[in-house]
Amino acid sequence: MPKLNMVKALNLALFQEMERDGDVLVLGEDVGVDGGVFRVTDDLQRKFGSQRVIDSPLAEAAIIGTAVGMALYGLKPVCEIQFSGFAFQCFHQIENHCARYRARSQGRFHVPMVIRMPYGGGVRALEHHSESEEQFYAHIPGLKMVIPSGPRNARALLAAAIRDPDPVIFFEAKALYHAAKEEVPDESEILPLGRAQVVREGKALTLIAYGAMVRVALEAAEVLQAEDGVETTVIDLLTIAPLDRDTLVSSVKQTGRAVVVHEAPRSFGPGAEIAASIMDGAFLSLEAPVRRVTAYDVPFVGFAREKANVPDVSRVVAAARDTLAF
């Protein structure tokens, strides 16, 4: 099996899905000749032509709006929004239309499209290039919201998202694009949407994370084991919405304690929904309140202060210790 970074793994998924299904096309700013500013769509235009890999004019609303039209007609557009910070320019198309056509037309139409966006920090970026905005999409009924945590699951989830009959928002952590290589099988691989994965098992505590924060949670689990002798379960959500509540609940029923980690600001973020779900399903097993380790509720802080804002291992460990000591 070749070892690929996340950029190459996503590129492989796009390539294979486009080969498999002539209705899949790619649309976005700089996705063709340039291969995307992060090179995720590299070489696709050369292989599939400019009718299927479209360098659009600079207009997010029209990228998503025209893709909705294409999807209504039966195509399967995979749109790229260059950075998640620029998706507000198409938010109305996503919320008003993408998410609603199935319901509005009472099942006559559906919108089988994918919207890929790089999100998150860790790349010394300017404003709008390092924020995490998954909460906006996770909150919209009718959308699915997926965030992979590494090359292999990124490839398998993107393929699943493209095949999904409903619109999927697909966030790619910029910090992970080149972070690590993983073995990714040549033959196509699918991971079902809506399922979390237990990536480490332990009895004392459940850490819940997704995207770039999974690594942070895993490192924190190592520290807790090495320094405190505490065995920690780590859950990688993979899909934010619809949330895999069963996996969360059954883990917390065993551990009694949970800490949620995300890069998005705290208030009204995914952590709140996760905590509520745990309350609903595992209230009597809880030994401590569910803690959240998140960015603070402040606007863009600049990369000179980013480390202090985005959760890191020491903050997760500290929250875990608090939870264990409760």
């Binding site: 910070g85 603070y296 402040v298």
Partner: protein, 380 residues
């Protein structure tokens, strides 16, 4: 029903004053004093030299990603030069030369690109908005500023900058439309540098010019040789005077070229040819203006070294900036910090005070607390 031909009386002019050798069309030569011409040139040279210095700073990791202006000095300075201090300047993200002319200290811009949000704060007496990164989104703000100035009866003109790619965004069209309907004192400056990252103008719009887009909104649009600072100045002078006189908005399309990369994270060899760049290098706005100044005997020989000294001093001040205090990230979220955020700030303060996290030193587990009322005892 017959087809009746409407006869729209629209025209789009292209303005140029200097040819590539610095020769002049005297009929169009703007009235600028020797001192004005000298400071115009100096500002352009400063823009160029700072740009080069910033690329090096970025390569050394001392600042982060930024958008170079190389090739667009005339386009920026010819327009910004027409503004008074009380006028408003609304930048996008590729106007460093114009921003410095407007009074932004160099070290502040460096700070901005080094990820310090302090770099985004204009001086208290400065009528300038900070850099806006989401393409075109600043244009409605410019129209709003102009409306407010008009409402207050202030003698103020607003100048807003954006690129060719920006004309594809809805915000551009909505801003132009509002400006036309409200008839406000705003000048839209489109720096058409032929590229929006990897997308060439011909894939951006099917219009023959960008200037003509103004006509659909009922405002004058003019195209100008953006590498000819005198032509840019002449067009901007006209537009600013018109706005100041209460005769409404104008769109200026300044035809120029981005000689460098889109940003320091970009690789233009993926999408454009060396020949194209070489062709535009021959039209370098600095060379052309320099030739003109030489002919008029206005060229100061030590200008480059004086500009370099100014930059070096600013870089030193920038490097002397103390490390960012993380706690200040709460300072400007609201006028008054809500209790919720007070608590978050306190949490961070406690963490900062505790110092860096300890490593490798085993922590005894704290004794298990007595359960909350109603909580069942642990199974473990």
């Amino acid at each position: 029903m017959p087809r009746i031909a409407l006869e729209p009386r629209f025209q789009v002019e292209h303005l140029s004053v200097l040819d590539s050798e610095g020769n002049l069309d005297t009929a169009l030569e703007p009235k600028l004093s020797a001192d004005e011409l000298k400071s115009l040139y100096r500002a352009m040279v400063l823009g160029r030299r700072l740009d080069e210095r910033m690329v090096r700073l970025q390569r050394q990791g001392r600042i982060g990603t930024f958008a170079p202006i190389k090739g667009q000095e005339a386009s920026q300075m010819g327009t910004a030069f027409t503004l008074r201090r009380a006028d408003w300047m609304v930048p996008s993200f590729r106007e460093i030369a114009a921003m410095i002319w407007r009074g932004w200290p160099i070290e502040k811009l460096l700070l901005f690109y080094a990820g310090h949000v302090e770099g985004g704060r204009p001086a208290d007496d400065q009528h300038d908005l900070p850099i806006t990164i989401p393409v075109s989104t600043q244009l409605p703000h410019a129209v709003g500023l102009a409306y407010a100035a008009q409402y207050r009866g202030d003698d103020v003109v607003v100048m807003a900058y954006f690129g060719d790619g920006a004309t594809s965004e809805g915000d551009f069209h909505e801003a132009m439309n509002f400006a036309g309907v409200w008839h406000v004192p705003v000048v839209f400056v489109c720096q058409n540098n032929q590229w929006a990252i990897s997308v060439p103008l011909k894939k951006q719009t099917h219009s023959r010019t960008i200037a003509q887009k103004a006509l659909a909104y009922g405002l004058p649009g003019v195209q100008v040789d953006g590498n000819d600072v005198l032509a840019v100045y002449a067009a901007a002078r006209e537009a600013v005077d018109r706005a100041r006189a209460g005769d409404g908005p104008t769109l200026i399309e300044s035809v120029t070229y981005r000689l460098g990369f889109h940003t320091t994270a970009d690789d233009p060899s993926k999408y454009r040819s060396e020949e194209e760049v070489t062709m535009w290098e021959k039209k370098d706005p600095l060379t052309r203006f320099r030739a003109y100044l030489e002919q008029r005997n206005l060229l100061e020989s030590d200008i480059e070294s004086r500009v370099d000294e100014e930059i070096a001093a600013a870089v030193q001040r920038f490097e002397a900036t103390p490390p960012a205090d993380p706690l200040t990230m709460f300072d400007h979220a609201y006028a008054e910090l809500p209790p919720d955020l007070e608590a978050q700030r306190a949490e961070m303060a406690e963490r900062e005070a505790a110092g860096p996290p300890r490593v490798g030193e085993p922590t005894p587990l704290p004794p298990r607390a007595t359960p909350m009322r109603g909580q069942r005892l642990t199974r473990r």
